[in-house]
Amino acid sequence: MSPLDDNQAAARTASGNGIRHDLKLVAEMVEPGSRVLDVGCGDGALLAYLSRRKGVDGRGIELSMDGVHQCVAQGLSVIQGDAEADLKDYPAGAFDYVILSQTLQAMREPRTVLETMTRIGRRAIVSVPNFGYWRIRLQLLLSGRMPVTETLGYQWWETPNIHFCTIKDFVVLTEDMGIRIERCMIVDRKGRVTGHAHSGLANLLGEQGVFLLRRD
């Protein structure tokens, strides 16, 4: 299994009953009955949740074979593929939401992926880990080594996360691309939603951000 498969598998394993907390936040942003594409859908936890709870017409793309098998075997419409190669085929506005959870930083060209997502989806929902989180800053400052945290548990030489950004970086990129942040949730370590995307405090206290995006 490649590190990326590992990353996604770990990221998508449902915790306890129901789905992972950050996926719930993502799900909150989705209107019932909409058409959804989940990019990097893992074992299909979010798609299954969305189709059960919100009656969405859901599709998925997943890189790992195991993930795809699990998804299709439970009746979800999922293709085995690579987001960067396979997203571009979809027509503009094919979906109401295109979701990318905890994976943007592992893309070769995150900007292109964001561009494609906001083209093929009327809206995009992106969650990103915040490299400006205070614990990460502190680790780098004090140890002088690349941070390894609970949620980002890789050594620098094995990490699939090749394009880290801070929440501030992400906001700047969206502005640069003419993408509007319609809604955002900055989540701290205990899953509490804090701050506002543009505040310095959010960039310090938030462990990750969930953004609802729309091309102007």
Binding site: R59, V72, S77, V78, D89, Y90
Partner: protein
């Protein structure tokens, strides 16, 4: 059929083949892609399970090049078990307790449907090369008539591997309103140059056999067994994979301690291939082999329906196909490699179709779709269950 020459080892085919049979194209003949007309013609088929009250639980299975409609029955000539017993049957992924399963022998075939070995009513003699060249589209046209004959407006699912997968794609493109779900397995939207090349080798082997007699072997009382066996041997290699062949045979010798410095079957793999060739000729007609391989060669959905662009074939009246797709490929299949399935997936994505796609990891090559591949079977089961839910099919079959 003319009186066979006793010297030629003519297979002992049962006088009447088991299964169902219907005469179609009676009122008006079926127009073929070539422009020729066929009719009336016979279609031999089998059904399993029960059609529900609203006729919504029918699954059509499309067989591969040398397959037939004996999905679950022992083969009438070889006595071997049905060719898709792994996947189809009570409680199996294609559950005959739940679905009404139909499979017909393709036209041009040799197991009861009208093909080159059947008698041409116009001449009273076997068609031979007088049989019109048929296409995958023609095969499916005949299946559509059969399905209509059975009173079914919309098939719940059309499923098949290899050439069967081509028919599935053809169904979805030609009759999207008549197909709820489509499962094309280990197939392609067009036959590749390499695959046409392999087919040509097979056809040349048949036609180079003097016993082929210009296609008139039935009248001459001969059978081009040597040519057909060679065609099968060459083709059979393409159904396997290098690792599977190596695992099975390696360089092992056949019942001997050392090589014989001759041209006997020294190696087990040679002996195996010869066996494949010899047993094949017992059950298959050489002219059918020519016709059906030709049909596959001609298959090109993008050219026929999309003006050269495959995604256009899946578009109708500006809208993407309503058919739900599940594609499966096998990692070691080099005859219909994953890239072929992926090209179809990309075309379906381009019209935002509902599609699932899985590549199954296996070293068993193209034939994997016929073998015990639990992951593959799970995927088919899950996909069908998901579709049944969307289609509103209840679990218990309606009596």
């Amino acid at each position: 059929m003319s009186a066979p020459n006793p010297a030629a080892a003519v297979p002992a085919e049962p006088a009447t083949l088991p299964g169902l049979r219907v005469t179609l194209g009676v009122d008006r003949p079926m127009r073929l892609d070539s422009g020729a007309e066929l009719g009336p013609f016979e279609v031999a088929y089998q059904t399993y399970g029960t059609l529900n009250a609203d006729r919504s639980n029918a699954i059509l299975i499309c067989h591969a090049l040398t397959g037939d409609h004996y999905v679950l029955d022992p083969h009438p000539v070889t006595g071997k078990p049905g060719w898709w017993e792994m996947l189809v049957g009570p409680g199996k992924p294609v559950d005959t307790d739940r679905y009404f399963v139909i499979c017909s022998n393709v036209i041009g075939g040799c197991m009861g449907s009208t093909g080159p070995k059947e008698t041409d009513p116009a001449t009273g003699k076997p068609y031979g090369l007088g049989f019109p060249v048929i296409t995958i589209g023609d095969m499916v046209r005949a299946q559509k008539l059969l399905v209509e004959h059975l009173g079914i407006d919309q098939l719940f699912c059309v499923i098949g591997g290899s050439m069967g997968g081509m028919q599935v794609l053809q169904w979805a493109v030609a009759y999207p309103e008549s197909v709820f779900a489509a499962v094309p397995i280990a197939t392609a939207a067009r036959h590749s140059a390499q695959n046409i090349a392999f087919h040509e080798v097979g056809r040349q082997a048949i036609m180079a056999d003097p016993d082929w007699a210009g296609g008139n072997y039935l009248l001459e009382g001969t059978r081009p067994h040597r040519g057909l066996a060679v065609a099968r041997m060459a083709a059979h290699i393409t159904y396997l994979s290098e690792p599977a062949l190596h695992r099975k045979f390696g360089r092992n010798l056949q019942n001997r301690q050392s090589v014989t410095y001759g041209f006997d079957a020294d190696f087990q793999v040679e002996s195996y291939l010869r066996h494949q060739g010899i047993t094949f000729v017992e059950r298959f007609d050489a002219n059918s082999y020519l016709y059906i391989t030709r049909a596959m060669d001609y298959f090109d959905l993008a050219a026929d329906y999309g003006g050269g662009t495959l995604s256009n074939a899946f578009r109708k009246d500006g809208k993407g196909t309503p058919v739900r797709f599940c594609l499966a490929s096998f990692s070691s299949d080099w005859l219909f490699p994953t890239s072929e399935s992926r090209a179809i997936v990309h075309a379906l994505n381009a019209v935002a179709a509902n599609v699932s796609f899985v590549e199954i990891r296996t070293d068993k090559g193209h034939d994997s779709f016929l073998l015990d591949e639990p992951e593959f079977h799970q995927v088919i089961r899950g996909f069908l269950e998901g579709c049944a839910e969307h289609r509103g099919l209840t679990r218990a079959p309606t009596p």
